[in-house]
Point group: D2
């Protein structure tokens, strides 16, 4: 139901004869990170080939096609488009020929200096065939001077800034890495003695791979015929002398993006969301008869809220399994149809009730307004909206497709105005300390909270702000 979209999911398999069957499975588990296109690059006898398609994984990578692929190494990617860039030419992984061989790259995140790099590369004669920031990485690797692929990559990486979890493939060498701040997740897994890489642990679980560990911020894991080795390609940034290194894993992964059954940045997402709900109950209890979530991501927070406040949990909304990308011919004059198509409301529970409705975020506020209207229409006497996150006041430049600041309601309105716009009896958000308690960290230097605080851990060009 959210108005936010993650940009990408990554999945790779090394040295498994079923690689081309496992990658679509892994991407299926990461489908929530990108529903617009999916792609795979595989390596057979050192030669890389690609298949990319629009749509969900099952459409873009049809089993009939995948079953023909002979490969033991494969990298997959699933993605949302950012504005204007939904064409197939933007689908990843990208694959290019360079002087020193083929290179494929799959990227989750956003490079904050991509425009500048692109301008510089173009000035140096480079041509770009996509609109994606990811393409600059291929150019930088291609222009690096070192002999080995890994060394060229190490020349390239210091030039890029921002959020990037990457999986790269060249010949038979697979590299998985995270940016020095560690904005986006990336985990290493193992299955039958072979290595697997995934954006989230849920993809490992699906194929019965074991989680080995997170790839660290600033770490590069290299898998080739000789096995696996790790290198630290970047020293971590320090906030102040003597302090722990500044890292910036995205707290929004825990609040909304990641699948509840994943363990992200060392924490179980489901448990964090319940804790967010308990903190929310502590901070903004309500005189109410029932607590209900906006499914799916609001469910654990609502359970936590109920545990804390002792207000009974109920689940009147059921999310439709048939919406997705399909198109319904709209009939005129049906109010709030988009929400009605997505959520079935067992509304008779609500008659005369004072209701707390828990959602994970409030961006423009337009969806919440429709939900409150539905609840009132169904007879709710009071509607109290609770958001299991602090107010979203600043856009993300690190890989989330978010509206501009002008469109973020909390960036422009106070609580009373938001409440009136939404039509709720009350609105309550978490504050930053409560969120940190729930997620389990102490201060702003341990996570990226930019969308809630406006403090950007990596500088963003003025033109983008």
């Amino acid at each position: 139901m959210s108005e936010l979209r993650e940009n990408c999911g990554l999945f790779a398999v090394y040295d498994d004869p079923e690689a081309a069957s496992l990658v679509p499975l892994g991407l299926f588990a990461l489908q929530h990170r990108g529903e617009e296109s999916a792609g795979i690059v595989w390596s057979h006898e050192g030669v890389l080939s690609a298949h990319r398609g629009l749509g969900l994984v099952t459409e873009a990578l049809p089993p009939a096609r995948m079953s023909q692929v002979v490969a033991k190494i494969a990298v997959g990617h699933t993605r949302y488009a950012t504005a204007g860039g939904s064409g197939l030419h933007n689908a990843q992984p990208f694959l290019a020929s360079t002087a020193k061989g083929q290179v494929a790259v799959a990227h989750n995140g956003t490079l904050t200096n991509a425009r500048k790099l692109r301008r510089e590369l173009e000035s140096g004669g480079a041509i770009f065939s996509s609109n994606s920031d990811t393409e600059v990485i291929l150019h930088l690797v291609a222009r690096a001077q070192a002999v080995s692929f890994v060394d060229r990559l190490k020349e390239a990486l210091p030039q890029i800034e921002g959020a990037f979890s990457l999986v790269l493939l060249s010949g038979t060498t697979l590299v998985a890495l995270r940016d020095p701040m560690g904005f986006r997740p990336l985990v290493l897994g193992e299955r039958n003695g072979k290595y697997v890489v995934a954006s989230e642990t849920c993809a490992l679980d699906l194929i019965e791979a074991r989680v080995v560990r997170e790839i660290e911020p600033g770490e590069m894991v290299i898998i080739d015929e000789r096995g696996l080795r790790s290198e630290r390609y970047a020293s971590k940034l320090k906030v102040l002398p003597g302090e722990t290194p500044r890292v910036a894993p995205c707290v929004f992964e825990h609040i909304y993006f990641a699948r509840p059954d994943s363990n992200v940045f060392g924490r179980d997402v489901y448990l964090v969301r319940k804790a967010l709900g308990r903190e929310l109950g502590r901070l903004h209890p309500a005189e109410a008869d029932i607590v209900i979530p906006v499914p799916d991501s609001g469910v654990p927070a609502a359970i936590g809220f109920s545990e804390q406040t002792k207000i009974p949990f109920d689940m009147i909304f059921t999310r439709s399994h048939y919406v997705g990308r399909s198109f319904i011919q709209p009939a005129q004059n049906i109010r709030n149809l988009s929400v009605r198509l997505k959520l079935a409301a067992a509304s008779n529970v609500l008659k005369g009730k004072r209701v707390v409705v828990v959602d994970d975020s409030l961006v423009r506020g337009t969806t919440s307004k429709k939900i409150v209207a539905l609840l009132r229409h169904a007879g709710a006497q009071q509607v109290h909206l609770r958001i299991s996150a602090p107010p979203t006041i600043s856009p993300c430049y690190y890989g989330i497709d978010m509206p501009t600041k002008a469109e973020l309601i909390a960036a422009n309105q106070d609580i009373a105005a938001i409440r009136d716009f939404i039509g709720a009896d009350s609105v309550g958000y978490l504050d930053l300390p409560a969120m940190r308690r729930a997620v389990g960290y102490d201060n702003a230097s341990q996570f990226c909270e930019a969308c809630f605080s406006g403090q950007y851990p990596v500088p963003v060009a003025d033109s983008q702000l």
Copy 2:
């Protein structure tokens, strides 16, 4: 997650210029009643035309095609195939030319004397172009002697037996009716002064139509240019002199099939399911740490169970929105993949816990066995399976696609054997009285409980038993 499938959903709109846009919307809300094909027949200037397609409503009735249809009257149908009959030639509504004009029929239910009627009709020279029992209805109407369509229909109806909610269309006359026992639901709605007919109220809600009332068992509602009138085409059966009429609405609609936000047979489905859960908690409490549902249909029962037993509710399973009809290339040697693809389990909640898992039914038991295995694999110390229905011991012959008696685990095994097969620490079902209390009726003559009792309210041919 269930292994049971309803056969059909019906939706019709009368005298609305948006009829051809509203019918796909209504069918979308009834998609859970049939995912295999969808169809529409519309009437324009008294001439009926049809469009049918395989797949979900959005595939079978593409908006680009529907937007070209000019019609104020339209009937839609969505369906599952029974064994061997998944072709387009079995998609409904059926449309035929007869001596007295075109007739279209959409059917939810199963005729128990269809084979016999088909044999008789064929002996009289009739030809059949489908495998569906519904086609006999068209033949009977075509062979009736009366002048008016409604009178011919009244000649035909006494000949058919079993479960049938029907919507028929001829020229500009729409007829909606239920069989004398009222096995399957059918409701009348109204929108902007125009009539709408639907299998469930959730389809009325979606298009902002008001529920007028249920169509009664044995009642026929006729809508034509002169307005709406009701006729009782069949007297209800009596069990014994002095008793109330025997009716047989399907109790399984409440337990599993209907959407939780529908009101079916005068009862809110969501509330009934919570009551089923409370009865289950009363009958089969457990020493446990958490109660979890198998989503989606197990959710309200689990909440009710938690309310009754005070064992905290949790929701570790999230149902995938991406499965549906799409195909995933299987990789070898991934255990329980079919369940893993459908359910994401936030399994870290489970470590060392004693878990009650609530599901709506247990048919073959194979899916429950996989779910219990998943829970144990995730670290659950104990797993107690609770079913919010009595044991399913007899197949349905009235419109549900159910395995044979030999495949129904509860028809062949006692509780201990079921528990061992499933791998649970305990298994608990509802009994009939508890189910009746939750649904809100007194005795076996008010609902069809055949799948739980083996007592069939309408005789079934020996060949079918």
Copy 3:
């Protein structure tokens, strides 16, 4: 380029394990007889199954689907729609269940009493699921009383009138027959000792089957496990005592419909067309510099015309291989685009030349008008149009999709008016005696010439005329 369309092509294979691969091949060779839909019914262990699709054979019967079919007996059909009837529900072969088993029928021709029969059948309670005249045949067979399929068919056949070449299948019995007048062709072939039936010999040639002989007018060939036998199910009509039987094979098959490499009604089509051209040269020579055909069907007639008149043959038009059914977005203001898309004209040959252009027929005249305009635009000094057939003055009711009499230019205009409309310097048609000489028969009782003479060999209901 013609504005006329044949209705159907038939092809069947008996007792060949490759039946389901051979039928699409045979239909491919008969594609010119119907481009709108194709279908196949096959028999496996006595059970009939069907697959039908819209479009060309290669689209409607995709090899991937056909390769899964296990069957040694199969019947195929390819068809054009008549007005308003292009839906999949009209695609043949039709397959129905009857009291005495399944029956499939594939039909080439048109029944002249279909409406009357349909009315009668409907009065007797029959329902129709298509708009096709062919469906009545199934009903008549279903209502026949005899025990064996062949005997029931013999009860049914005397009731139908008009043009019908039929292939029927029931269990493992295949029947191929022609109406008593023999309007439409049907030939028996043999391949590796197994029987094959086809509308034209070109389909036999393609699969290297040998032509055994034509099926005779009024003859029924029955192929079953015991082998092949022939029965005469109808005595031929007599024109006068002492005369030869009246038959009515369609002369238009020779003029336009049949493929030039077929032998139809005992005559090689290509040779007949050359002879038509020679007769045309004899009847309507011209003072001209070159003779050119409108391809493809005008080619042999133009060669014959050239042989007769000694005017050099040239071939400035090449027919596009890319038009077919595909759709081109029209740009405004391009004159005669439809003809330009179909015919490439090597127009520089034409400058200052006096040109004879030979076409096979002139129906509405609109296409010929465009062709003449193209030739003049290219610099032709004179354009003489020669038609290798007599004037088309009456519609066909025996299986050709032809405009109404009001639209047939030769039915309403004299030669001078036609010439002026077309914009030619002269227009010349064959006369009936010349046509007969070329085709090789003596008088009107040996062929159907209704479209040229208005004499209909089988009565046509007034409502149709």
Copy 4:
């Protein structure tokens, strides 16, 4: 029927509001130059966008999509794949972003130094996303230093060698040019005062554009807001002092590739082909009863042969309009099925006849062998094969997809051996002087005859020979 394939067709429209409808029409007329993919790049308000697809023009550029494009400038391309390069990523026009704006390029021909340039560019850090030689052009333009697009193009062009007719687009500037040798055709047209560019004049004819003139070898025509201007970007090569400039238009365009209704290199293709046939009749007459062509390209040569030898022309082969790219499930053991599917043979004409069959080229000889077998099987007493070209002894490196020298039968066998392989009674080719007479030029310096002479006008890297 040929085993040779041209690489590409180009079409562009400038300053016409229907540009996006006209380009698919123009490409439709050039479909014979490439059936594998088609693409279009359009310019709207100076911004370039692209759409490319696999298949025929009507599939790759669907009218529904094209009708949404708003643009007055558009460039289209249709293409065959060379070996291994059939993916969508090789479909043209290519579109890239460079430091000085977007550049699109559509290419017909082959660059002989592409590998070397690619290696150099890659060494300089360039990355390649296709396998096509055309991509190097984009890199060279991107790396050029000049300010204006045209000047950068002029920096790039001297670096490329080989065969290239190009249409490029940047902002609102369209450039059409031919390589200094003029291997591939390119013509300028005009329609309603606006400029059009096409590979062949037949594409201009289709949209009723007037032929202005050929673009000259070494000429660059620039069309922008200021109008049209021409520049000579390369001086022509001289063979010897005092002689006319060496140019190398491909003589095979006349023999086989170009459409017969085009005027190519100042000559009407149809007339040239007739002249080739007359020369062939002069050089290799035969004692025969009929002359027949292998359609379509052999038709005018056969007519010319007949004119010269007075042996009657006949046309027993009709080419199927249904083959194209569709796939037919093969049945086993049907000999020469591929030829039978493409050519219908009115074989009864042939019984006992001595036949001359005229084809345009003989490459591997396998198709001709099948055709001769078909003719003999149909009863031909003698079969004399005549080829309206000299023996093909050397592969083309300038834009034709031709087998290697080892596969060219005439490069490895003498006439007697070819005759025996083909199974003909005699085989006759043109010689170089006769071909020149027919095409209308004097010596080897005026056309490229490399495939017939082995003399390559532009050096080809050893690795390619």
